[in-house]
């Protein structure tokens, strides 16, 4: 009885291998269509532009696998970067405090969502929508609706844009994204948290009745997603060398889109980190490629829409064949 088994075991890998297919096709297409696409600087540009959304999407993957959703990632990211700014610039504390503060802000917001969802019984959509608004408002309130500039803290911009590997021109943000990707993949597939994450998404009631404290794990999962959001916020601030309090809304949809295009099911219980990374890359390759081709912007959105349908459909066809 290989086949159904194939789906979960070897086939799992095969399938993602094929999902990479869509990505490869896009890359090849754009390389042929424009000589300016396949250049080191552009590749790095694409990766850099994937980093922030990609990291948000990593966190969102955990939440979505529980069968939940997190609409707050965009503005919580903003709140985290503002918090980092306040700690580093306004309070003039060392960078590391700012970084930790930003990440903790994300984690705290995540855990609050988790709390509202589990202990108050608010549906994830509503709880995180509310958090989205709260974080948006708070970011403006605590920053006095003005950007916070890190210009006097030169090291800060190095977090995202410095290069740590000598000789190779890969910005840290890209490295951080891939390292976080690996960490996320390990957490999801090798740890208890990952195991319970899938279990909850697959059948929350049955998981509860197996004696697992679903509430606590869910709060942990939303908190973990918040950590990723916080890191994204710090990177965002570093890359812009400023904390911009009015940014971020709308990023949640892009992050969720990356997750879903990567094959993770919104009804929970199924998903992979590598899929999310590929999903995020598909989105940014597409955006970048169309820009490099100087397609008028209104057509860009149309093309992105069509290609998404197409890519996901290809993926579905392949899986069906199995």
């Amino acid at each position: 009885m290989e086949a159904p088994k194939l789906k979960k075991t070897t086939g799992g890998k095969l399938q993602q291998f094929l999902a990479i297919g869509s990505l490869v096709v896009l890359v090849i297409f754009f390389s042929i269509a424009s000589p300016n696409f396949m250049q080191w600087s552009n590749i790095i540009g694409i990766l850099l532009s994937t980093a922030v959304i990609g990291i948000l999407a990593l966190g969102a993957t955990f939440v979505i696998i529980t069968g939940g959703i997190d609409l707050s990632v965009g503005t919580v990211m903003t709140l985290s970067s503002v918090m980092t700014g306040i700690i580093i610039v306004n309070a003039n504390l060392p960078l590391i405090f700012g970084i930790i503060g930003g990440i903790l802000t994300g984690a705290l917001c995540g855990m609050l969502c988790g709390f509202a969802i589990t202990k108050l019984g608010i549906p994830p959509f509503v709880a995180t929508l509310a958090m989205m608004m709260i974080a948006k408002g708070l970011a403006l309130v605590i920053s006095d609706a003005a950007p916070i500039y890190f210009t006097d803290h030169e090291m800060f911009s190095k977090i995202a844009l410095g290069t740590i590997i000598p000789g190779i021109d890969i910005p840290n943000a890209v490295l951080i994204f891939f390292i976080l990707g690996i960490i996320a993949a390990v957490i999801l597939s090798k740890t208890i948290l990952g195991r319970f994450n899938f279990a909850i998404g697959s059948n929350e009631e049955a998981t509860k009745l197996s004696g697992i404290s679903v509430d606590r794990w869910k709060i942990a999962i939303y908190g973990l997603a918040g950590v990723f959001t916080g890191i994204a916020g710090v990177l965002m601030a570093s890359r812009l060398n400023s904390a911009q309090p009015a940014l971020g809304q709308g990023y949640e949809l892009e992050a969720i889109a990356a997750v879903v295009i990567g094959g993770t099911s919104l009804s929970g219980g199924k998903g992979t980190i590598i899929g999310t990374i590929i999903g995020a890359l598909i989105m940014s390759v597409l955006t970048n490629g169309l820009r490099v081709l100087s397609i008028p912007q209104e057509w860009q959105t149309v093309v992105v829409g069509v290609v998404i349908i197409f890519a996901v459909y290809m993926d579905i066809l392949r899986r069906r064949k199995k």
Binding site: S34, N36, F37, Q39, S41, N42, G45, L48, S49, V52, L140, V141, A145, A146, P147, Y149, T151, L161, P171, M236, R239, L240, N241, S242, Q244, P245, A246, L247, Q249, T287, N288, R291, V292, L293, S294, Q297, E298
Partner: protein
């Protein structure tokens, strides 16, 4: 207006914007702007608050999140009318769409002062505005001068459909097309004023046109995107950047010669003049129909001048 804490009990941190009309005998001016989160609008608000303090009136200041939200702005105007203000300051996202409410205001004898790009109607008693198109044309002239009147340039614009976006884009493009036949506009992309998106977008433009000579960023977010892009692509100095509006990063970039210069309006002046005209209208004084708050080119040379310093904000 800071001294009074209002009945709803929510507000001290935000200074003067929260003064509710009903708890005070002071005249009340409701300002409905085109935005509120962005630096430009915050600067307008600051100017308005200055005037409010000076002339001892209460104001409120609000605006939608993006310049495409015509309907949200109308709802704000409606709510403002319901608060029975003594005057209204209004920067229309779409004049046509707001005609009905403006007429209501007129019928209730509430004076309207238009600001920013103004309101296309004769109801407002005064308009405190700058000419966005002319300002962008100035940016085009400067760009042309800086790149020797020939070569390829691109635009990163903040909005495809809003008046400010369109008029800055068209002001720039028309000027180039009319005056500088050897300059080619190779790409116009829209980044929504989002710093990060504008950065990625400007990088893609530079990628697509390796021989690009200049980029114009049409507002603060777009300009910063362009600045980030040349820095990340290590092309500082190779590409001439012209910006719009101000803000610390843009000012720094100009001082550091990353950006050649920018055109700024006088947002604080706009806010100030709006409230001032509103107060005059409330007091039955005649007000000047057109209050030109001006725009300025600033670069490394003149940035410290008093005139520029009063127009730019960090």
């Amino acid at each position: 207006s800071e001294e009074e804490s209002d009945s709803s009990g929510s507000a001290d941190s935000q200074g003067s914007t929260d003064a509710p009309a009903e708890s005070s005998d002071k005249p009340y001016v409701a300002i409905v702007s085109k935005g509120f989160q962005h630096q430009f609008w915050q600067a307008v608000k600051e100017g308005a608050e200055q005037a409010a303090e000076e002339f001892d009136v209460d104001i409120t200041f609000e605006g939608p999140e993006s310049e495409s939200q015509v309907d949200k702005q109308i709802e704000m105007l409606q709510a403002a009318l319901d608060k029975k203000p003594d005057a209204i300051g209004f920067a229309a996202l779409d004049s046509q769409a707001s005609v009905g409410l403006l007429e209501t205001a007129k019928s209730q004898d509430i004076p309207i002062i238009a600001f920013d790009s103004g309101v296309d109607s004769d109801i407002p008693l005064a308009t405190a505005s700058t000419d966005n198109e002319a300002a962008a044309a100035l940016a085009a002239d400067k760009m042309a001068e800086l790149i020797g009147e020939e070569g390829k340039v691109a635009l990163v614009v903040h909005d495809q459909t809003s008046i400010t976006g369109i008029s800055r884009r068209d002001g720039f493009v028309n000027q180039i097309e009319e005056r500088y036949p050897n300059i080619e506009i190779v790409d116009i992309q829209y980044g929504g004023g989002d710093h990060l998106k504008s950065t990625d977008l400007a990088k893609a433009i530079m990628q697509a046109h390796p021989d690009l000579k200049g980029i114009f960023g049409s507002n603060e977010g777009s300009a910063i995107g362009v600045i980030n892009a040349v820095q990340e692509m290590n092309k500082v100095g190779e590409i001439t950047l012209v910006g719009f509006d101000s803000g610390k990063q843009q000012i720094d970039a100009i001082k550091n010669e990353v950006m050649a210069g920018a055109v700024t309006q006088n947002p604080m002046g706009i806010g100030y003049e709006t409230v001032k005209a509103a107060v005059a209208a409330i007091n039955g004084e005649t007000v000047e129909k057109q209050i030109d708050t001006g725009f300025y080119w600033y670069d490394k040379e003149n940035i410290e001048s008093e005139e520029i310093q009063s127009a730019i904000y960090e």
